[in-house]
């Protein structure tokens, strides 16, 4: 009986040790505490360092400004990031890419695509010009795609509907993905 008990305790101890080792190993592999999945911020207020894509002083290329952004959850974080883009740059004589009066009405995330719905000011108050429009569109797209690995595509809407162009030149009819070459002023 005693021997049986000792064997049982031994087996239980070994099992517990193995389980602990498994958990520890998993933790070491992901470098994250259990329960947190990469990029999943749902329900957790999060503060993130984000690269915001604005324009250089000559309006030739995109130029990055790093800023801390806090959101209530993932979609809210995306919305706050778009708000920061609309707020504009603060240093380095960078130029804003979107009209000051623009507001994002809704930001929605599903299946790797962020849908950003702007009010009409993004079109009506945009100064115009082909490259200025390229920089406007891809400041939004690059910022969301480059900062968040879970975002592959950005669909821009104006007043809730898909539009052929932002202000008459650049195609925004479908979801777009980032163009990092715009940092050196080139499309590709």
């Amino acid at each position: 009986m005693k021997r049986f008990l000792t064997a049982f305790i031994l087996v239980a101890l070994v099992a517990a040790a193995l389980f602990a080792a498994f958990l520890l190993g998993k933790h070491l592999r992901t470098g994250k505490t259990p329960g947190e999945r990469p990029g999943d911020l749902t329900g957790l207020p999060q503060t993130r360092e984000v690269d915001l894509y604005f324009a250089d002083p000559d309006g030739q290329r995109l130029s990055i400004e790093r800023r801390e952004v806090t959101g209530e959850n993932r979609e809210d974080l995306f919305a706050r990031v778009v708000e920061e883009l609309l707020r504009g740059p603060t240093e380095g004589n960078r130029l804003r890419t979107l009209p000051e009066t623009t507001q994002a009405r809704t930001v929605y995330f599903r299946d790797g695509t962020v849908w950003v719905d702007f009010d009409a000011a993004i079109r009506d108050e945009h100064p115009g010009g082909t490259w200025t429009e390229v920089l406007a569109v891809y400041s939004i797209v690059n910022t969301l795609v480059e900062n968040f690995p879970e975002v592959d595509w950005v669909q821009i809407l104006i007043e809730g509907v898909q539009s052929d162009t932002l202000a008459g030149h650049v195609d925004i009819s479908g979801p777009l993905t980032s163009r990092v070459q715009l940092l050196s002023g080139e499309w590709e």
Binding site: A55, P57, D58, G59, Q60, L95, R96, T97, P127, G128, G129, T130, W131, T132, V134, W153, D164, T165, G168, H169, V170, D171, S173, G174, P175, L176, T177, E186, W187, E188
Partner: protein, 418 residues
């Protein structure tokens, strides 16, 4: 007695038929296709003229086989209906689409002032499904034999093949317009596109200059120069202050078989000091969205079911890719225009650039967009407002177009359209 009379009458009656047949055969040999009934006796149904390019006017086929057709507003696709079925043709594309099936013609369907023309193999690939009659082509003698009713079906491939086909086209192995490319020929039709118009104002200067008014004025001055000095046909996509859609602008150029499409715009930036000149041509891989939509269909192995959505998707892909075959000519034209504008206006050279520009996507000819100067820059705005400066802009654009024209004639630049 009676019998010989009948025989004699029969022989006499056959003579004109033979003469008639002989004449038809002779004319068929010259430049046409003889259409013969497959029944014993082989009644001649008529003949079709073959154009020097090897194409046949679709209207003549429709007359002969009693087909009806409807063309869409943009004038770039046509639904042809016969007794047994219908098919859709897309101008500039070699596809015949018919209820979930497609056939690939030897050359793209072409739009000309008179209507659509189709390559010879449309007779065997498209007609059977429309008429319900089997068609056999004797290519050596240019005789098409027509089977009995109920013997013909549309012999296309399953529409799942559209997926493979579209990726095939996308890889640029298929270059439709080059198939019929003839000897060097200069510009005959140029379409000028004054940007914006109507509710689309475009950029605005601080003293009130609008892009839509400025670019229309420049386009009109350029038109005059081109007509007077180069003697070519010039068409403006708008001639006053009204709204024209972006696809409509390209459709105007496509329907007029333009050799060159130039969209004229004035620039703006968020900072007043920014100034200079830029010229654009379309970036490849534009229509990111379509490419993705397409990849989604392919990756998820949903397969195309050949429904109207698939045809619509394919059409969208073809529309987006229309410009792909002309990218190198468009780059040449953009370089000439940029160089000439910078030199002629002593402007700041902001370079030739590629961008996903909606107005260039559907163009089936070399197509560029010129940003002639920044009206958001107050000094530039004053200049651009001057008639004399607008004449200088028009002259610089004219010089570039003339150089492009000469380049085409000398064969240094490969021609766009056949």
């Amino acid at each position: 007695m009676n019998r010989t009379l009948i025989r004699k009458a029969g022989i006499l009656a056959i003579i004109p038929i033979l003469v008639f047949l002989g004449a038809f055969l002779a004319s068929a040999e010259a430049s046409g296709v003889l259409i013969r009934n497959g029944n014993p006796g082989g009644k001649i149904l008529g003949s079709l003229d073959l154009q020097p390019s090897g194409m046949i006017d679709l209207a003549s086929i429709m007359d002969l086989f009693k087909l009806r057709a409807s063309m869409d507003l943009m004038g770039d696709r046509m639904d042809v209906v016969g007794q047994s079925g219908s098919c859709r043709l897309l101008a500039g594309s070699p596809l015949v689409l018919s209820r979930g099936l497609f056939a690939l013609l030897s050359a793209p369907v072409r739009f000309s002032g008179a209507g659509l023309s189709v390559p010879l193999d449309f007779l065997t690939k498209g007609l059977p499904g429309l008429t319900g009659r089997f068609m056999e082509m004797d290519a050596a003698n240019s005789i098409l034999t027509v089977g009995n009713p109920g013997t013909g079906v549309f012999s296309g491939e399953k529409a799942e093949g559209l997926t493979r086909l579209a990726s095939f086209i996308q890889r640029d192995q298929y270059v439709p317009e080059k198939i019929l490319n003839p000897a060097p020929k200069g510009l005959s039709v140029v379409v000028l596109d004054p940007g914006h118009g109507g509710r689309s104002i475009g950029a605005k200067g601080s003293s009130g200059t609008t892009e839509k008014a400025l670019v229309l004025s420049v386009a009109e001055k350029l038109r005059r120069r081109l007509e007077e000095s180069l003697g070519i046909k010039v068409i403006l996509t708008r001639t006053a202050d009204y709204f024209v859609g972006l696809k409509e602008r390209t459709a105007i150029a496509n329907n007029n078989n333009a050799d060159l499409f130039i969209s004229i715009h004035a620039n703006a930036a968020f900072r007043r000091e920014v100034d200079g000149i830029e010229t654009y041509y379309l970036s490849l891989g534009s229509g990111d969205a379509r490419a993705m939509e397409y990849a989604r269909v392919e990756n998820e192995a949903l397969g195309l079911k050949g429904g109207p959505e698939d045809e619509a998707l394919l059409e969208a892909i073809l529309w987006d890719m229309a410009q792909t075959s002309f990218i190198s000519q468009s780059r040449d034209a953009a370089a000439l225009i940029q160089e000439s504008l910078v030199a002629g206006l002593k402007g700041n050279d902001r370079g030739v650039r590629q961008a996903p520009l909606a107005v260039l996507m559907g163009a089936r000819m070399p197509a560029v967009l010129a940003e002639i100067g920044f009206i958001s820059n107050p000094e530039q705005e004053i200049k651009l407002n001057r008639e004399s400066y607008q004449e200088e802009v028009a002259r610089a654009l004219y010089n570039a177009i003339e150089q492009y024209h000469r380049g085409l004639l000398r064969g240094e630049i490969q021609g766009g359209r056949p």
